[in-house]
């Protein structure tokens, strides 16, 4: 089966005043549909850079990245935007909801950018809110609900355009242990029942155990790729 993500010989360097600083030094990786991958590594290991490139928010300096069968390096900014909109769902550590918009409008926002009409937007947003157990809050605002609930709204937003891939960057970083477990169960459910591919960045070993596969970065290189096990988290 065609990989959702295929990365070959990926290098990334940032230009600084002191010359280019490498962040990723030759990564090869393929992720098949339906995988649940945890990405770990100390800070500065390049895992954030890696996630930005996976999310089409940044481009590789050298190397090839094929997402859902399309070579990202050949796409222009509008095509990248479309890819982010239709193929990827983002979940961030800081939830990143729009404070001035209702939960329904927050969840429906990706649909605005794919030109879905208002009635359908509303229906699909409410359907997603229901899926994460927040249907009755659709007219509330983000600051009226708890952090765990906000992260569920963010997940609903990530799901609303039926993406192939969910990229979660430290999604439990701002949550307590109990809520973190609930959120991770939501991810696990999505992965198991709907077969959505999930790539999760975390630095907490017990969060990583929700995933099926673990990749570890150190100093811009992939040092481990395999089963999630005590020894490697």
């Amino acid at each position: 089966m065609e990989s959702v993500i295929r990365i070959e010989g990926l290098f990334k360097a940032y230009e600084t005043a002191a010359g280019p600083v490498p962040a990723l030094k030759g990564i090869d990786l393929a992720i098949a549909p339906g995988e649940f991958v945890a990405v770990m590594g100390p800070s500065g290991s390049g895992k954030s850079t890696f996630m930005n490139i996976l999310g089409c928010l940044d481009v590789p300096t050298i190397g090839k990245y094929v997402l859902n069968g399309r070579d990202v390096g050949t796409l222009n900014s509008d095509q990248l935007a479309r890819l982010r909109n239709e193929v990827i769902g983002f979940v961030f550590q800081g939830f990143n909801l729009l404070q001035r918009a209702t939960l329904e409008d927050n969840v429906a926002l990706p649909l605005v950018y794919s030109n879905v009409q208002k009635p359908e937007r509303s229906a699909r947003a409410n359907e997603m809110l229901e899926k994460v157990g927040l249907a009755k809050y659709s007219a509330s605002f983000p600051n009226q609900i708890s952090g765990g609930q906000q992260q569920r709204v963010a997940i609903a937003r990530a799901l609303v355009n039926r993406p192939k891939l969910i990229l979660a960057d430290e999604p439990t970083g701002n949550l307590d242990t109990k809520t973190s477990g609930e959120i991770m169960n939501v991810f696990r459910g999505l992965n198991e029942t709907e077969g959505i591919t999930i790539v999760l960045v975390t630095h907490e070993p017990d969060i990583a155990t929700y995933a099926k596969r673990l990749v570890k970065f150190v100093d811009g290189k992939l040092i481990y790729d395999g089963e999630v096990s005590e020894a490697h988290t």
Binding site: N52, G55, L57, D58, S77, D78, A81, R82, R84, N85, E86, F90, F92, N96, L97, L98, R100, A101, L109, P110, V112, Y113, S114, N115, K118, R157, N161
Partner: protein
């Protein structure tokens, strides 16, 4: 999509009401000032145009010249050198369509228990043609009245009102300096002249009557001035030359000597006045436009602040699939929203201000649809122009930088 963006623009504006209000205020003042100044400028222009058209078109005034006796120089008109005969001769020139001599004076007029001091013009029926003046009631006196120097009078509206009130003056007899005159007609309202005199505060009588019976003069048959109308605007210079030549001949002025009369092109003078008003009107508009510009800069300033403040929001939007042009449109829409709302309020205040100026200062104001449409278009353009740079800045943010922004 556009509807959604308008809603979001509305939300963004609502999020910081005071700031939105202050930004809008710049626009309100700018547009209000432009609308008000255009109204006043056009009003002034309208008054001047009105006075000019009330004066009559292609008009000359010929004044008798100055004289010097024993080293004492008298002013223009001191020597009555112009005659009814001169007027007659001028009327035969091909460039001149109508000519009227004028022998003016001031007299006390009485009707019943009312009396009024006014200007009495001795002239001919041609005066009405020269001045484009109509008779509102009754009839004008005729050339035969002029020949036989009958005591008839045409009243200006102001005089009629002061002497007669609501009564119909036609065929009534008034007294001018004790002598009875029959009122044959009342003139149509003419309004103010360029120098602000009430043109309706006057009485017209036959020139012969004025000379022989009312004012008398030591020089028989002379008049104070002659008014002449050229046949067209193009013919004015030729007409002026022809009249000057004719009168020099008739007055036996030596070659090279100074004329004993002055020909003035009143229409040219009036047009100069109109020109000055137009310049003033444009200047008022230009000064007001500066405040519009300042308002626009205010919008740009606030939009830049807003883009910086909302960097993270922009990052989120980009991450979930907004294209550059979506972000650009969103911020542009906000800028236009602010400028157009400000503009609408500004137009209302400007028009309101113009009405207040009109009523308290009794200055003519003219509000045209085109000036409002123009103010509106300019405001929309200001919104687009000053909103574009901040919007583009927002659209060009790098998604990772924007998302990381605290």
């Amino acid at each position: 999509m556009i509807a959604q963006m308008l809603i979001e623009a509305w939300r963004a504006m609502g999020a910081n009401r005071l700031r939105t209000f202050l930004t809008m205020l710049g626009m309100v003042i700018g547009v209000g000032a432009v609308v008000l100044m255009l109204a006043i400028g056009q009003g002034a222009q309208y008054s001047v145009d009105q006075s000019i058209s009330s004066m009559g078109s292609n008009l000359f005034i010929i004044l008798s010249g100055s004289s010097t006796s024993g080293g004492l120089r008298m002013g223009a008109g001191a020597t009555p050198t112009l005659t009814v005969g001169d007027a007659q001769a001028i009327s035969e020139l091909s460039n001149i369509s109508a000519v009227a001599p004028a022998a003016p004076g001031t007299a006390q007029v009485v009707y019943g228990s009312n009396n009024w001091s006014t200007q009495v013009f001795g002239t001919t029926p041609a005066y009405l043609a020269v001045r484009d003046w109509n008779v509102a009631a009754g009839y004008a006196f005729t050339d035969s009245d002029v020949r036989s120097a009958t005591r008839v009078a045409l009243l200006g509206k102001t005089v009629a009102n002061n002497l007669f009130g609501d009564e119909d003056p036609v065929n009534k007899t008034i007294r001018i300096k004790q002598s009875p005159y029959l009122v044959v007609g009342v003139l149509a309202v003419k309004g103010q002249s360029l120098d602000g005199r009430d043109q309706d505060d006057s009485i017209l009588i036959p020139v012969t009557t004025a000379q022989r019976k009312l004012f008398g003069t030591q020089f028989q048959g002379t008049v104070r001035f002659i008014m002449a109308q050229g046949i067209s605007a193009q013919a004015m210079p030729a007409a002026e030359r022809d009249m000057t030549e004719l009168l020099r001949q008739r007055h036996h002025v030596q070659e090279g000597a100074e004329s004993d009369f002055t020909v003035r092109n009143l229409t040219a003078l009036a047009n100069t006045a109109a020109q000055a008003t137009r310049v003033m009107s444009v200047m008022l508009g230009a000064i007001a436009s500066i405040s519009l510009l300042v308002g626009g800069i205010g919008i740009m300033n606030i939009m830049l602040v807003s883009v910086t403040e909302r960097t993270r929001e922009i990052g989120i939007r980009i991450a979930i699939g907004a294209r550059q042009r979506d972000i650009l449109t969103q911020f542009l829409m906000e800028a236009i929203f602010i400028s157009v709302s400000g503009c609408t309020i500004g137009i209302v205040l400007g028009v309101g201000g113009a009405v207040i100026v009109n009523q308290t200062a009794e200055i003519a104001v003219v509000i045209t649809g085109s000036s409002i449409v123009m103010a509106f278009m300019v405001a929309a353009c200001v919104g687009i122009f000053f909103g574009f740079y901040p919007a583009r800045k927002a659209a060009r943010l790098k998604p990772i930088d924007a998302l990381r922004y605290q």
